[in-house]
Each structure stands twice: as structure tokens, then as C-alpha cells.
């Protein structure tokens, strides 16, 4: 495995949130950069009737 310069001072200015592909999160961590993998899921889609009712009450 090739070395990665995790001490590059510029990297200390970057903190990453990853939404989606796990390998992109792994890639950031591999570079020694602070990162957070968001446990993102698509919003649940309501039918129009249910959404209209929710809109009325909320």
C-alpha cells in the first residue's frame, strides 16, 4: 500500500459529511480526513390524500 500524506495541513481545514455511496466515505477516512457517513434514507412518500390530511393538521 502506498503512503498517504495524512499530515498535509490543508486537510485539517476540511470536514466532510457523506450522503450516499459508502466507498466515498471510506475514501475520505482513508485520507485521514474527519468524516461522517449520514445514515440517509429516501423520505417516505405519502399518497396525496394522506399528505393533504397531514398538511391540514400540521
Amino acid at each position: 500500500m502506498i503512503k498517504v500524506d495524512n499530515n498535509d495541513p490543508r486537510k485539517k481545514t476540511v470536514k466532510v459529511i457523506n450522503i450516499g455511496l459508502q466507498p466515498f466515505y471510506d475514501e475520505i477516512v482513508f485520507q485521514g480526513v474527519p468524516a461522517l457517513q449520514l445514515n440517509w434514507r429516501p423520505p417516505v412518500k405519502q399518497s396525496k390524500e394522506v399528505q393533504d390530511m397531514l398538511d391540514m393538521f400540521l
Binding site: 498517504v4 470536514k15 459529511i17 455511496l21 485520507q31 457517513q37 449520514l38 440517509w40
Partner: protein
Amino acid sequence: MYKELFIVRNRYVDSVSLMNVQARAMDEGGVHLAEVQMGTPINIHVLKEMGFDVPSDAELSDLLIGVEAEDAAACERCRQLIMDLLDHKEVGGGDETYSSLDEIDFEATGYNLVQISIPGEYVVEETKKAVDKGCDVYIFSADISLEEELEIKEYGRDHHKLIMGPDCGVAQLNGVCLGAGSIYNYGPIGIVAASGSGSQEVGAVIERCGFGLTNLIGTGGRDLSKVVGGTAMMEGIKRYEVDPETKVIVLVSMLADRGVMDKVLSFADGCSKPVVAIFLGSDEKLFEGHKVHGTFSLEEAGLKAVELLTGKPAKQGYSDDELEAIAAEELKKYAPGQNLYRGYFMGGTFAEETLVYLTTHTDGIEFWSNRKNDYVKKLPDSFKSVGNTILDLGDTDFTTGAVHPVFDNTIRDRRMIKDLEECGDVAVVMIDFIGGPGLDFDPFEKTVKAFKDAEARTGRHITVIANIVGTYEDPQDFKTYVPYLRENGMIVTGSNMQSAKLARMIMEGLKK
């Protein structure tokens, strides 16, 4: 043997993550088979064919986990492992998990960059949220409309935040490489690019000349379209203009809307720093009346940037005379009737650069491609090569619902070997190896083995010309593997243009 199908309702997981999780699950003791797929009709059909009992109400949004193991306990352990991997419990996410940007205190935590690779329909909302939280945004996702792309780019511009993408494959910001990008040395040249693989090539050439990058700002491939109007490219230029560390700016794009290219060049003319541009496939007229230095290959763009920096002409890789000598040697090795060319590119820009060059620099040779443009004939079926074929394997023909070959080079290798075994008249093959920490870590030995097998089966010599697009900091260990490839008969050039020139020389020689 015990076989069980688990279903996780309304759980989206991308195809690359599924591939990795599945590979890890297969290593679990007692597990013979693990199939982890979203509930598409094709996947449901395949799982049923494998003997799994898939519920009739399984839907596209459901995650399906099929496990065959020695007993029920092993099945359950495998399922649990897969769910833990998907929930990131094992990969250092810390004790806290968040499911939305709204749950995070950005002031306290200091997060300042959001990377997005989710289905296109959710991208606008998440991007605007990230900008509102004070972050620059890198968007790998595609599948959003041009109007939406303009909307988020203008939103970012108005909030003084960079929007890199959508459909941005490569970027580097403050030394951190994003997406499918390489790890570049720090240096005084800044790239703004609407072409991922193109910008990687320019960066790699600059690095081989001994220099490096301040940043590589990706814009996504459609930034110079009429609708989007170069919004992100001009924002990138602005950033470099005020950055004291950036001494030379390079703009990279494939051919785009003529009016927009002209507008971007006029904008760049206002810079106090030298600007180099490669708009692949453009003519010299485009640059007439502009201060910007026009170039016509990716390699030339990198070399020109170095020349403007140092005041001296730059060079790297093979000279034309050296390429002529290599071609002459190769021409001695073919069997009668071997006269065809095939290009298998993971980087779309390399396919484009090659087809523009080969079609404009050869006479009487017909080329086919899955890419649509004025230079070549369109393949009737992207999955079947014809004559001299140039394939862009990163095109949506191949990547819709599937893994991009940069993440798994065997996808490219399988297609190539199938072609070579079907047609014994192929003499020259061009390929690319692309580096970066997000990509296939170990692409070389698999490809060498695939070629050796193909040569053995066809009993013919095939010239393989490889372009390495990466840096010595990339985890693919190019320093070790370039000699390895050469020892195994591949010709490793210094750029895609050098590869294309060598292929042309051989093709011209085969006509005689």
C-alpha cells in the same frame, strides 16, 4: 444446506455499496452464497432462479438479502453482518448516527463539505440544505434536470459556496480528493473541469512534470451547456483569481455550447493570472481574440500550464520518434489479417479524445463507437463491437443500474476478452487504468491475466497500449505496477494522446 431470503422494507442502498457488502458477507464462515440486491424486477427474477422464496409484494424500494449457509444460525449471522455493514456500525462512524443534515450542529462540529451520491430526485433538496448550513457541495449523483442544475448552482453562487456537480466524478479540495479522483501533490496550478477523467489526465501530466495542484474544482459535465451557462466554471475561476497560491489556471471540458465556451473564455480573459483551456474537439477559431491559451489535447494542456509556470517548454513520456520505433517493432508481430483497433475506456474523455484524434488523423479507416458525435458511426448495439470500435464503458448504456467500471475493472476486462475471443483480427487495443482512493485498488494483475488468457486462446499477438491516469500517492501503487505491466508485454505510455498516436501509427502501418 439452509436457504433464506430476508426482506428489508423501504431501504435504499446504492449498487456499489451492495457489491462491497456482498463481498464481505461471502467471507463469513459457513456462508456459501450471499445475494444482496434492491427489489428490481430483474433482481427478483434472478433471486427466484437461484431458488429463493421472494415475497410477491416485494418492491423496487425493498432491500432483498438472499443467504445460503450451512444452517439457520449461519444465515442469521450473515444477515446481521450485512445489516451492520449497511448501518456503518463497523466503519468508524462513531457512536452517534445521523439520518439528516438537520440533526447536525454545524457550528459545533465544523463540517464544511457535503458529498452527495443519492438518487437524482433528492439532490436539489439536500444540496440547498447543505448550502444553508454553510457547506461547499460535491455531487456525484446525476439524473437531475438542467434547470435544477442551474437552480442549485445559482443558489450556491448567491451564498458564496462551491457546487461541484451534479454528475461530478472527480475533485480535490484543500488536498482532499473526492469521488473518483486521484491524490495530487500540492502545487501552484488550479484546475476547473467539466470533465472528470480529462482533469485527472491534466493533473497527472502536471504531476509527472514535477508540479502539483492547489485544487481541482469539478463542475459536472453539463456546466457549459446553454442552460447552465458555465455558472460553476466561472465560480471556480473566481476562486483561483483571489487565491494567492494559484499561479496558473487550467480549464478542462469536452466540446460544449459554442456561445457558452466563448462566454467562459471572455470571463477568463479578465483574470490577472495565465489561463490555459482545453475544450476537447474545438478548433483554433474558438480561441481567436482571447487571451486564454488554447490547447488541443489533455496532455498539451498540462504541459502548457507547466510551461507558463516555469517559462520553459515541458515534456514527459514518449517522443513521437520513440513511438514510431515502438510501432515498427509491433508491426513485425501480427498474423495475416490482423488489422483491427479496439479501445476500451473507463474515462469518457479518453474515448472522446481518442476518437477525435483517430478519425481526424487517419485516412480510409472507419471507426464505430457507443458515443454519439459527428466523428464516428454509432454502434447499433453498444454490447456488440463492430470493426474498429471505441467504447466509452462509463456511458449510461453500461452503467444504468450497474457499477461503473472504475470501481471494478473486471467489468471492462470481461467485455474486452469477449470481443477478442469473438474476433481474431484485432491487432491493437487501447485501455486506461484510473487511480484514486475511491476506486479499484488492485486492477493490474486481473487485467494482465485476462489478456494473457485471450492471447493464449487466440494464438495471436495483440498490442495492448495502456494509459495510467493517476499519481504516485494513489493507493493503486503505480510505481510498482508500471514496470509489472511492461514486463507482461503492455506498452505503458505517458498520456492518452501518446497512446492514440501509437495506435494510429500501427493502424497506418497495417494498411500498407
